[in-house]
Amino acid sequence: MTKDEAQRRADRIRAFRAELQALSLEGIETLSDERAAAVAAHHDGLLRALAARFDIDRTDAGRRMSLGMRLASAFGAAALTAAIVSFFYRIWGGLSTPAQVALLAAAPLGALAAMVVASRRERTLYVASLCAIVACGAFVLQTVLLGNLFNVRGSPHVIAAWAAFGFAVSLPFRFVLPFGAAVGAAIAYAAALLIQAAGAPWQYFGSRLESVLVPAALAYPAWGIAPLELRPWMRGVTLTVALGALLGLSTFESPTALPLDAGAASVVYQIAAAAAAFVVVGHGLRTGRSEIVAIGAAFAGVFLLGRFVDWWWDWMPKYLFFLILAIVAIAAIWLLRRLRARLAEAA
């Protein structure tokens, strides 16, 4: 059982108890006193065991606190990483070269050691998660500054090292932010190799978005190899990157690998983006994956808004433009409700 599954079970138990109470107040007899006591005792024991093993939230207040702690942990990690980077740049010029090299190696190692110590002392792993993010930032800083220190010509393989480090740090404890960053780095590495194979410098993979779209789209189906708790994040990151690249290709007349001029290629990608919006949302609804539906819906919204602005903004009266947007939004709600009802029937 994963932490998410444990949390969902706890939520179902809480909902079950609340519904039993509501039925009782409405005068509906459900369970006899003996059976109710047995079920309550079983649930109490189960909740204690789940809380001890997974640190789940047993109340709504606990859930809100956990969300707050997660946000604070992420913010703290970002702030601490920024502090370390700023500190390095402040003292950098006053250090000898051996001291600089030693400090750069010590930073990620120190953060890793802190992560391991924190994981043993704190069951919730919030501090360990913060240390993991700092370790990733420190490792990136190490590779960048070592290259600057010795005037090294860059290589795309450093991105592979970032991805490997992120995976190594995130997988043992299922830390989502370093994992997401590692997936992003792996896609960037593949994109860099792709653009390099096409004869361009590897740093320019962002200039040709097909080099980003292809590896992200290919990586998406591989979400099954990730641990259970991290699969939604792998799906989310690969899908967001792929759809983001598609949005860029469909919005801007940028250089393309297709044997068409930029304008024609943009039209091809607009058709592809429209189809992708339907496919992604439909896939999310059919598989019951809320993160896919959310990403697909956000992509569809941004894409449509971009197209409407491109087609109509300059000449259409503004009230009519926004009225059409509202009608499209209402139509989307109607369509999604029909889809949801159809899926519920099929289930």
Binding site: R90, G93, P108, L109, G154, P172, P201, S207, I225
Partner: protein
């Protein structure tokens, strides 16, 4: 830490990888640097006109210098179609063609090698204004072959050879026909690190810096003076 992750990667193995990576990266970088510095070309002596060192600030005490250079002027001076075609760019569209701006704008740049001449004939051919204030390094050649440039310009004290990213630039000047020429996006590395020991020498407005290039044509500064 009893769970396994995916295809048999235990948490212990992942921790070993995480701790090993910073050490391996350091060792690999130092090994590359040692190999690079086991042979050298130069030194080439640059002044504040060729290598610009920004002032440090409280928040950024790192000192790194930008190498600047000038392009040759005029139709016969610029690096044009033939050199760009030799790099692998598709130069089939005439610069005067209506398709030219789009054709050349959609091209991605390419990695190449540059030869920059210091205070040579190319510099003396520049207009007086450019000679008076600008860098005395002038771009004289590009090639996708490092060895070609090394053979053509063996004098490391007068010719700086560096890796760079080159793109095709389409220009439509007011006083002439459209043309295409090589534009340099960036050199690699972009900037040169200046160590603590040499930092005080480049703190002023006028300085001289001796730059050496190694086996990998990665440079380092061996001396600096006011």
């Amino acid at each position: 830490m009893r769970r396994t992750v995916g295809q048999g990667f235990s948490p212990a193995a992942l921790f070993v990888l995480a701790f090993a990576l910073p050490i391996v990266v350091t060792a690999w970088t130092l090994a590359q640097v040692a190999w690079n510095r086991s042979a050298s070309r130069g030194p080439i002596v640059l002044t504040e006109r060729e290598i610009h060192v920004p002032r440090t600030s409280e928040d950024n005490s790192a000192r790194r210098g930008w190498i600047s250079w000038q392009y040759r002027r005029g139709e016969h001076g610029r690096i044009g179609r033939d050199a760009l075609a030799a790099l692998g760019f598709d130069m089939s569209v005439d610069a005067a063609s209506p398709d030219a701006p789009r054709h050349y704008a959609r091209m991605l740049p390419k990695d190449a090698w540059l030869a920059l001449e210091l205070r040579g004939p190319a510099f003396h051919a520049l207009p007086a204004e450019a000679r008076e204030r600008g860098s005395r390094l002038v771009l004289v050649d590009i090639s996708d072959s490092l060895q070609t440039l090394v053979d053509r310009y063996p004098d490391g004290s007068q010719y700086l050879i560096t890796a760079a990213v080159v793109r095709v630039v389409w220009q439509d000047p007011l006083d002439g026909p459209p043309y295409v020429a090589a534009g340099i996006d960036r050199t690699a590395p972009r900037r040169l690190h200046i160590s603590r020991d040499l930092a005080s020498a480049v703190a002023g407005d006028r300085y001289r810096v001796s730059v050496v290039y190694g086996r990998r044509f990665e440079p380092w500064i061996v001396a600096a003076s006011r």
